[in-house]
Structure formats: C-alpha cells, structure tokens
Symmetry: D2
Subunit: 284 residues, 4 copies
C-alpha cells in the first residue's frame, strides 16, 4: 500500500533526477523510474513502473509530460513508456502532478478521473523559470557576441518576467540597456530599473545585442535592416518567436534560438522550483 | 476664445509650478493662477481665475484637488479659492484634469457635466510616483538611522511598486535586504532582485530598518517586540499605515511617518510624471 | 593599577559614545569621560579624568583629538578639558590612540614619549569612512535636488574611494553617471562600474548633480557656466574644496558644503570602523 | 616611404583582425599580414611582410608576440613567420608595439636598437582586460554549474581588478558573494560592493562556485575538502594557478582552467583596449 507522501518520479531529463534527489533530501521516500541512463539518484529507489505505482502516493511526471502524445517524455529511460489506458490506470486514486498536460490527458479517458495537476501552470514556477532563462540568455551573449556585454547597446523586447530579469543582469554588467514595451506603465517602470524605455516604433536603430521575449513579430524588417553582422539576436520567445527569420537570413544576421533554457542551463535550480510548486499544490 | 492646447494650471504645491513650466517648455501657452507665493513661473502667464478660464482649453487642478471639499488645495495662493457652482461653471465645456477628485466633484452638481479626468488614477503615474517614494524613504533612512544603510539588515513589507523600488536601491547600497509578501509568486520573484523572501509569519526578528508599504497591520506586537531602540521604522502606507503605533510607542520604538513623498522630495520629477499622464489622457 | 585591555574613552561626539558601547559589548571594561551631555553609555563606567587614567590601559581620544590645540575636542563634556603637560602626564606608559594628532602632540613635549597612535591614518578607516560619506552625499542629493536621482545626469569628479562608492550607489538608483579622472587606468576602470568616463577637459556640460571629491579646483568657471539654477553641487573635498565658490555665487548656483559626513550621518557605523582600526593597531 | 601613422598589423588571433579594422575605421591606413586564414579585414590592405614594412610607420605585433621564441604567434597565417635578424631588420627605425615581448627581443640583437613598446604593460590594458575576464568566467559558471548563479554561494579569492569586477557582476545577478583577501583595507572595501569579507583562514566552508584570481596556492586541501561534486571551481590565475589540483582530483572536484579569456570571449572589445593602449603610447 502506498504511504502518504511517498513520491514516484517518472521520466524526464536531468531536472527530474535533481527533483527526486531534492525530495529525498527533504526526508521523503522517493521511487524513480525512466531515468536509468542518468545513473543513480542519491536517496531514491529505482523501481519499475508497477512497483513505483504500488509504493507511491504522489506521482511526478516530467515537463513536458509528453512531446508526441504517444510516449512519456523520457529520453533517459531504458525503455519507452507508452501512454495508454494501462499507463493511466496505474495512477487511479493517486495525486499526479506533471507539466504541460494537454496531450497526456488526451491519451486516455481515465485521466479525466485522475485529474492530474499541472505544475507548469503555477505562477511561482513561471516566475522562477524566468531566472535561469535570463541567465542562460546572458551566457549565450557572453559566448557568442564578439565584444563584452559591458558597454554593449542592448535591446530587450518585452518587459515581462524574463525582460525584467534580463534588465537587472545586463545593467549589473554595465551594458547600456533599452527595453521596448507597449504599456505606458511598463515604460515608466523601466526607469526604476535604470533602463531606457522605447516604444516599438522607436526600436529601428542599431543594437549590439537584441533579446526577444515577445511571442509576436516585433523584430520586423525595418528593425532588422538597422542591424549589422556583429549584432547578435537571441530569441527567447517560444516558436515561432518574434523575429522575421526569413528577412534575418537574407540580411545574414546572427540569430540564436534559445528555447527551454531552465532545464538546459540550470537543471538543479529548475528542479527546486518544480519541487516548490509541487509542495504548494500538495498544501492547497 | 480659448485656443486648442492652452493650459490653465490652478493651485497646488511646487509640483504645479514645475508642471506649468514644463508644459510651457514644450511650447504650449500656459496660464497659472493660485501659485502666487511661489514666485514667477518661467514661460507661463499669471492670470486671475476668469482670465485663465477664458484663455485655456485644458484646465489642470492640483493633487489632491481639495483637502476639505470647501476650498481648492492651493496653499501658495494669495486668496483662497472656494469650491462652488461659480467655480465649476468656469470650466464648462473644457477638458479638466485633476488628482483625487471625489470631494471636488461633490462640491457642485455641474461637475457631473464637466466630467473631469482624474490623472491620479493613471497607472503610469502610480508607477512613476513609486520612484521618488522609494528615494525619499531611503533619504530618511540615511539621515535618521545612526548606522550606514550599507550592511544594515532591512525589512521591506510588501512587494508592490514601492517595495520593488526600495529593494533595488537598498541592494545597490549594499544592505542585507529581506522582503515579506503573501503571494508565492512574489516570494519567488524577490530572488531575481537579490532579496531574501519572508512570509509574514517569519518577520518576527530583529532588523535595523523596516520600511512598511502595506496598508494593513503587518507590524504587530510580536514583530515590534523583536526590535530595539536603534531600529528605525519608516511608514510609507497611507494612514493609518501598517504599524501598531500604540505598541510601538510603549516599546519606545522610532517610527517615522512618511506620506506624500513624491511632492516633497522630488516635485520636479513628480510634475513630469503628472505631465505625461495628462498628455496620455489628452491623446486617448 | 590598570588592567590589560581596559579602555578609557575621552571626549568627542556621538561616535565616541557608540565606540565605548561597542567595545563594552565586546566584553572589555570601558571607562568614559567627557561625554556627559550625551547621557549614559550602555556598559561603560563614567569616571573623571584621573580615575579613567588610573583604571585604563588603552586610552581612546576623539577624531579630531583637538580643533584648536588648546582644548580636547569634547563638545559634549560638562567641563572643558585643557591640553597641557598635566593632561599628557596622565597617559604616560599607556597605549593612546586618537585621530588627527598633530595639534595634540604639539600641546606638550610629553607626547613625544607617549607616542600616541593615529587611527585616522589607518587605510581601512579611510576606506570605511568613504561608505557613509557617499551615503550622506546621496542623502543630501535626495533631499535638496528637486528631481529624482533616478534619471538624473550626475557628474562625480574623482574616482578614489568616495567617487567609486558614489558611482555604485547612484547607478543602483538608476542615475546616468559620468565620472571624471586624470589617470587612463581609472577611466578604463569606470566602465566596469557602468559609469561613463570623462577627462577633465570634457566636463563643461550641463549636469543635474555634481559631486566633487577632488581637493583641487576642478569645477572652474567654464564648467560652472554650463550649469543652471536647478543643478546641485555637493562639495565633499575638504576645505577649500574643488569649486570656484566666488564664480558659483556670481552664477547663483546651488553649492552645498558637506564635510565630515561619517560622524554626522552614521556615527554608529563610523564608530565600528574606528573600533576595528584600534583593534588592528593593538594586534600589530 | 612609410607615411606617418600608417599601421602594419602582423599575426595574432581574431583580436588583431578587429584591431586592424578598428584602426582603419578611425581613418588611418592599415596593412595586415599573417591573418590570411581569418578572411578579409574590412578597410585594411593585405600585404606581404616586406611590403607591410615598407609602407608602415607603426608596427603592431600580437599578444603574446611569440609563444616559443622561434616563430611569431600567428596561428592564422598562411606561412610561419620566423623570428631572426632578417625579421627584426624590417622594423629598424619604426615604432613597434607588441604584447609580452621578452622572448621576441631575445630572438635578435637588433631589437635592442628598435626598442619595441610592450602595450601589455600598460595599466589601462590590464584594467580593461579584467572586464572580459570576469564576464567570461561568469559565462563559464552559467554554462557549467547545474544551478543558477542567482542564489548561489560564491567565493572570489583575491580582490584585485578581476575580483572586483566579478563581485559587481555576481551581486547584480543575485548571488551570495564572499570574497577573500589579505589586506584589511580590501576587506573593508568589499562592504561597499555588497560583498561579505573573509580572511583566507575563514574560507574552509562549502561554496557552490569558487573563482580563483590569486596566483598562489590559496585553494588548499582544507578548503577543497569542504566542497562537494556540485561545486564548480574556475581557475583564472595564470598557471600554475591557485588550486591544489592533485588534491582536487583526488576529491573528484570539478575544476575548470580558464586562461586568456579576453581574446577568447570578447576579441572585439579586447582589440579596442589594445588600440587605446597603442594610441596612448603614441601620444606619450
């Protein structure tokens, strides 16, 4: 019989390994499955799926739970984990948490009964993930831009979570930071961050670095035409992003697509954020 | 006949003088009235009320427009300006903007027809005002706290506009900054600011400086009892504030009430923010 | 007979009171004299001079030890303390530390034998004092400048200890910071601080705030002529400072002389720095 | 005959290409040689060595000028450039600037007459290079450390140019920054940077990230034994560095050697610094 607060962690990438280890370090029993190729998980017991389901009261699925709707997202598993009624049935009457669950819940009608919780919808996780996203973007800029960030003329499009964090870091490095947004209150708020506000009509000028965080075509031809080959454009918005890629290619501009940074540059911290979101779900 | 975009500025404090001067510097005709004791306004014509009303198409009233509902808020006027139907009638068919208008509009039924715009309700003004508020609070802390801000253990209660700006400035001065908030997403966001998050249950410990921005009793007896006579509490929330003042007095704690900082510490910048809000109103 | 590490604190301002209290809090016996008007010193015993001399092995004199060479610098003493051979004789064969000792040691030939240590010459104290100096200057700027520091165009002349600390704080507040220095390496180093370097030939332009830290006439007529009445000049260099005061007056510019900020804005922290310097002297 | 201020740039890495381009963009004639594999240099004429020597009045050699004392440091040259009397003779009666010249000047007795200037000895260049060094180190930390820099416990050993710049950037990213130094004044100065000072006796505790800038064995066994496998040690001091590498290996610690960062992460900016140093040499 599953014990209260025994966690079963299934599939995913390095984040799930760190997640399992961190929950175990908090003193809870943890079973893992589908992370075989990442080596042993300190403090967690390796199980097969039926064992894990039998022992665990809380099931943690990866982020995203599935990429294709057919198999669990488990690139480090020895064997593929098929999503079907048999898989879903394992988790009846359990608390199930996972990230981006739409395609998972479409894989079996049983999920309607299980009612899994989507930790990716938690605002605190979105806020948290903006931190490694901004750091990762700055890491790319340091590596790929041939000058220093210090003194570079930087444009951030969008003043949401990621834009704000980028502004803080870039200013701290001595860059000259401009930020574009639509809302008048955002343009005002930028001043407190030491950032120079621009409307989208004002961004058609030369920058050394452009960080796009807006999922709408804001880096259009007139903006791109002002840039030179030394300009580095880092695309942080989810596909198709905010850059007119066809035009950028014609102009031979350097555009780097940088999706999913939290899991790639800071899996350990990203796992901590997921853990906090899960704990908050369980408390509520 | 009034010209389009002739501004009439009436009453108020130093901000209204800077406002008149700044609008005049933008090239618009400006009449002023009720600021006599502040000396001449560069670029603006001094008028009496009827003249001003006759010449101006846009009327700018102070913030707040009135304190008592009987007279216009005009501490630097030679003569009191009574709020009644005669006063209101001057502004029929004009664009009137003022700050905190409830008691003004109650002074004559004509205001219902005039439909004055409250610039104080503009989000960009609220965001702007948080900047001099935070600066003013830090100015008080520098002057009144017997140690340096550098190295001081600071608590900010609330992570709204003022709280965030305080966090940025205090961190930049090398303080050890803690911030309390209720929302989990706010507690997460604090990390990006380099601030240590606390729930309200965790603030009962000793601090050197406490900045309250929350209009709810958060600095209760258990918190106050942890403080010493060197602790400085700066109250930034509007009356009655967030400090249990009776308890603070019993404990001989040093509490400074600091309302309305923008107009007091940075009237020139506060006027710029009002101007931008007014221009935005006129554009819309 | 005096005990090892019994401290006698004599005269001075609030700093000496905080110094006595802080040493007492470290567990050492402390006698005080000449601070009567500041009320009781927690943890320290009030004595008269002969008692203090009898009991103490380490004597701490104020900063500066004397202003006129005739009396000890003791504005909060009940009675003046005359500097003569009788006074000096009290401290024969003791460790005496004080600040700025030239005029004191000239007051009696006995001082040559006593060999008092000047803690004001310690580099760590000078470095420390630059922190409250920069904070105090910013506090003045917040209070006296009619706009916000945020967005203000600031010039710092000199990139020594105070200049660097000012640069850090002003940048953290979102000011636009320029700094003037002579050395090419300093001009380069400013970039790491996010500050725009200027040579002294380039500073003849308009600024909102000017902080002078250089004890040489750098704010000359051509610089002053570019400023307006809203410009605030804060003079931090010791008299006669770096501003052409006569010319500034002719131009009706606003100059604030701000000497001795550490003792005035942060006596508690300034006392900590003195204590550390004294402890370092005793260890060596 | 060579014209005044015609520059001949020979060999080196990407920096020399950017250097040639930047000088050309300033309006001076520039010849290049020994950079063939990096493609065309905008604004500069490709020459062979004798042509370049004939045309140029100022010769710029790479940094370092040579690695082995036998050939010029020219990894992107089509053909090796041998250092001998024939090579040196080309530059008689010209102004020659290069970096780290000891082994070059040993390659021919003619150099004694030519008296080449070592731009690498310029303090402004050393100060400048500390900026990309700090940025590059942070870029490595972002990429290699599995958590975020935000919230990470960081130790910087040494508070020289690189240490200070690291402190500024890491604080701006929300890290918890500790710094170790020997001098008491440095320990005091750290406070202004918002950094927690440690003596070398106090660093034997766990950190997430350690940046060594000191060319002396400061990361000894007792320090290393406190670290875990997640700790990342970045070695910035020139070989043999400050880490007990044998002990670190026994403990399976993750040490990254990161020499010569300016040329690798920011060749364009590094070239600007060299250009400024060269211009300063020519002016003096």
């Amino acid at each position: 019989m599953p014990m209260i607060n025994t966690f079963g962690v299934i599939g995913g990438d390095e984040r799930m390994k760190y997640l399992a280890q961190s929950i175990a370090a908090d003193g809870y029993p943890v079973c893992v499955c589908g992370l075989e190729k990442l080596g042993t998980c300190r403090g967690a017991a390796e199980c097969d799926l039926p064992q894990l389901a039998a022992k665990s009261s809380v099931i943690l699925l990866p982020l995203p739970a599935t990429k294709d709707g057919l198999f669990l997202n488990a690139p480090y598993a020895e064997n593929e984990i098929r999503l079907d009624d048999d898989f879903a049935r394992l988790f009846m009457h359990k608390t199930v948490c996972g990230g981006m669950l739409q395609r998972l819940t479409a894989s079996s009608s049983l999920w309607r009964e299980i009612e899994p919780e989507d930790y990716y919808r938690r605002e605190e996780l979105a806020v948290g993930n903006a931190i490694p996203t901004a750091e990762g973007a700055v890491g790319i800029a340091i590596r790929e831009y041939p000058g220093t960030i210090n003194g570079a003329k930087c444009l951030i499009t969008g003043f949401g979570r990621i834009g704000k964090n980028l502004a803080i870091i870039l200013r701290g490095m001595g860059a000259e930071v401009f930020c574009a947004a639509r809302k008048k209150a955002d343009l005002m708020q930028m001043r407190a961050f030491g950032v120079q506000p621009l409307t989208y009509r004002e961004i058609s000028r030369r920058f050394d670095l452009i960080f796009n965080t807006v999922p709408a075509k804001v880096l259009t031809s007139p903006v791109l035409m002002q840039q030179t080959r030394d300009t580095l454009i880092i695309e942080l918005a989810s596909a198709p992003g905010g850059t007119d890629l066809k035009r950028a290619e014609e102009l031979h501009l350097h555009v780097i697509d940088a999706p999913s940074l939290p899991g790639r540059v800071a899996p350990k911290t990203a796992a901590e954020y997921i853990k906090e979101a899960v704990y908050n779900i369980l408390e509520e």
